[in-house]
């Protein structure tokens, strides 16, 4: 036991004295949360749009005003003629243009029919789609107001509700995503690098020629990182709750327990890597390319898994991040209990045991 604590103390010395890795360990989650929260967002907010109003009557002025009032758009250009549209898009000044044809109000009142045209910049297809949807909604609201005064023989009213995330806040998507990525990256990379460091610096050589069981060095390596990763989880949740106004709907205890399980998964993956390679560089490379990329692609956080071709969907099942991402969003966003995540939990437990077994089997008690 004394030996165990001596090792743990030594590991903490290593971590605390290495300012660079400490900054990565504690700074990276904060940085990613703030970046995703405030800088990198695919939400549509105050997008620049232009209006080409060829009728300039009461209705069109009112409608243009509504666009400007909406939190999704801000009208930055009033265009005079159609030829200006292409130029504005080319200069990247506008994301969308709304065109009111001549005699708009007259057409409504006399012909009971009028047209509005949206032109969107579809360089980024998702954003332009979202913008067109918001714009359509604004027109629909306006139409309903006019219709409200008249009686129609029949009409279909559309009512859509966005479950779990009515404001369509992107935090609901990226907080579980960032948590998954951070744990995967730090848990696996930091442990693998730190164990390989013992090999590279030659300290493993001395430790092997001692009565200590070599497995001790490996297990005690994981403990400080377990603790630090757990601190990261708390940090992310705290930031999500305070800075990003994200509610914590499910059981926090369950979420923390699942996080610890996932940290074990990533740590055992790190142990596995460290037993297979001999230099810190290779360990880092495998962690970054071999783990981060699949973690990013197959977690379902950036790209929906259902849209992927079948082979990729099959591959996604062996990537642990997919399961943890699903657990976190189920608990945090949907507020559901263990009965909805037991399957994912079981898969993670299985994966952890699998990695650990191989890591132990591959552990070298000699130098080659």
């Amino acid at each position: 036991m004394k030996l165990f604590f001596a090792f743990i103390r030594k590991e903490f010395w290593h971590v605390l004295r290495d300012t660079r890795s400490l900054i990565i360990l504690l700074g990276l989650p904060v940085m990613m949360m703030l970046l995703f929260g405030f800088a990198l967002s695919n939400e549509v907010k105050n997008s620049n749009i232009g209006i080409l109003d060829l009728s300039h009557d009461e209705s069109t002025i009112q409608l243009a005003d509504r666009f400007d009032q909406s939190r999704y758009f801000s009208v930055t250009q009033k265009l005079k003629r159609e030829s200006e549209i292409a130029e504005a898009f080319r200069k990247n000044e506008l994301r969308m243009v709304v065109i009111f044809p001549p005699n708009f109000q007259e057409n409504i009142s006399h012909n009971k029919q009028a047209q509005i045209r949206f032109i969107g910049d579809a360089t980024d297809p998702n954003t332009s789609n979202i913008m067109i949807n918001y714009a359509t909604a604004i027109i629909r609201d306006y139409q309903n107001e006019i219709l409200g005064e008249q009686k129609l023989p029949y009409r279909i009213e559309l009512e859509s509700s966005m479950l779990y995330n009515p404001k369509l806040s992107s935090a609901f998507n990226f907080v579980p995503g960032v948590m998954t990525l951070i744990l995967m990256l730090l848990g696996a990379m930091m442990t693998s690098v730190s164990i390989v460091k013992e090999k590279e610096k030659g300290t493993m050589e001395i430790l092997l020629v001692s009565p200590m069981r070599p497995i001790m060095v490996v297990i005690t390596k994981a403990i400080p990182y377990l603790l630090l990763c757990f601190v990261d989880v708390l940090l992310i949740l705290l930031l999500a709750y305070t800075v990003l106004d994200m509610p914590m709907r499910g059981n926090i205890g369950l979420l923390l327990a699942e996080s610890i399980l996932f940290i074990f998964t990533t740590l055992s993956l790190g142990l596995l890597i460290s037993n297979l390679v001999d230099t810190q560089q290779v360990a880092m490379f495998i962690s970054l390319v071999g783990l981060l990329m699949p973690a990013l692609i197959f977690s379902g956080f950036m790209f929906p898994l259902e849209n992927m071709p079948l082979p990729m969907q099959v591959i996604s099942n062996i990537v642990p991040t997919k399961w943890f991402y699903s657990i976190v969003s189920t608990i945090m966003v949907k507020g559901l209990g263990f009965e909805y995540v037991w399957k994912q939990t079981l898969i993670l437990v299985g994966m952890t045991l699998f990695y650990l077994t191989i890591a132990m089997k591959k552990f070298k008690i000699r130098l080659e």
């Binding site: 010395w13 290593h14 300290t203 001395i206």
Partner: protein, 305 residues
């Protein structure tokens, strides 16, 4: 009694293409200070790693304190002290922290065995709060020796402990080894420095994965008598070329200010040397008979091999 027994050990790397040890056999007696002397790449480190159970030989048997290096590797790891050639302590831990840590690893405390390391430790104790990575070469080696000694090992393996260490620290280091020997610890030490050979009880000369000779220093020197002369003149570089061209020369090497010349035992070989050099235009020629030291002997053994 033999503490370390090495029998026909062969070790290769890279699937047998690189030979590190070729059929090496010798024994180290209990309580002996044994030196393994050879140039870089001769196979010294491979042999140390086999004896400390870190590598498995391709063939042959070896035992340390009666334990087989393959079957009983756990037993050996408990009773030996090992100091690798490369400084292998934690650079980001202080002297004190390193020592305490390794004491714990070996299931002991610094206090318990302080007597054993006291003489060495007092020299680095003033800097005990300093990180190991910031120590000078000599201090690093002293700390590494302390860490290797802290559990009172029966056999101590020191792989090039004085490489990269200043001459004063080297001398101190060997004095310490002498005192450890008096305590009955068997010490096997490797070094590329020939002058350290005279500080060992017995030495093994190793070159190109083969043992050239094993004996006491005197034994090796007396076995390898040579017809050796120290020669110098005003034009040293030309002299070396001319000496090598001299028909009775076996070998000639630059040794600091002089050239060491080994002649064949022919009657005229020395007699006709002076006229030969004069004819080549050398002035201020001096030729002195000398008795070969370990370096000369090593070169001769290398040539014979």
């Amino acid at each position: 009694m033999a503490e370390v027994i090495i029998q026909n050990i062969t070790k290769t790397y890279e699937k047998g293409t690189v030979k590190a040890l070729d059929n090496v056999s010798f024994t180290v007696k209990s309580g002996e200070l044994f030196g393994l002397i050879g140039a870089d790449g001769a196979g010294k480190t491979s042999l140390f790693r086999i004896l400390t159970t870190l590598l498995i030989p391709d063939s042959g048997k070896a035992s340390v304190a009666g334990f087989d290096v393959i079957q009983d590797f756990k037993k050996i790891r408990e009773i030996v002290g090992y100091m690798p050639g490369k400084f292998s302590l934690y650079q980001d831990l202080s002297i004190e922290e390193n020592l305490n840590f390794f004491a714990t690893v070996f299931g002991t405390t610094v206090e318990e065995n302080y007597e054993l390391i006291r003489e060495i430790y007092v020299q680095i104790e003033p800097f005990k709060k300093r990180l190991a990575g910031q120590l000078s070469g000599g201090m690093k080696q002293k700390l590494a020796l302390c860490c290797a000694l802290i559990h009172e090992p029966k056999v101590l393996f020191l792989d090039e402990p004085t490489t990269g260490v200043d001459p004063v620290s080297r001398k101190e280091f060997w004095e310490m080894l002498g005192r450890l020997k008096e305590r009955g610890i068997t010490i096997m030490v490797s070094t590329p420095y020939m002058d350290e050979a005279k500080l060992c009880d017995r030495i093994a000369l190793i070159q190109n994965s083969k043992i050239l000779d094993i004996d006491t220093l005197e034994g090796i020197l007396s076995k390898n008598k040579q017809n050796l002369f120290a020669v110098n003149s005003d034009k040293m570089y030309q002299l070396l070329k001319d000496l090598r061209a001299y028909p009775n020369t076996i070998s000639c090497f630059a040794f600091g200010q002089k050239h060491h010349l080994q002649l064949n035992s022919g009657e005229n070989s020395l007699k006709s040397l002076l006229p030969y050099l004069k004819q080549k235009g050398h002035t201020n020629i001096s030729i002195k008979a000398i008795s070969p030291d370990i370096e000369d002997t090593f070169i001769k053994l290398m040539q014979d091999a």
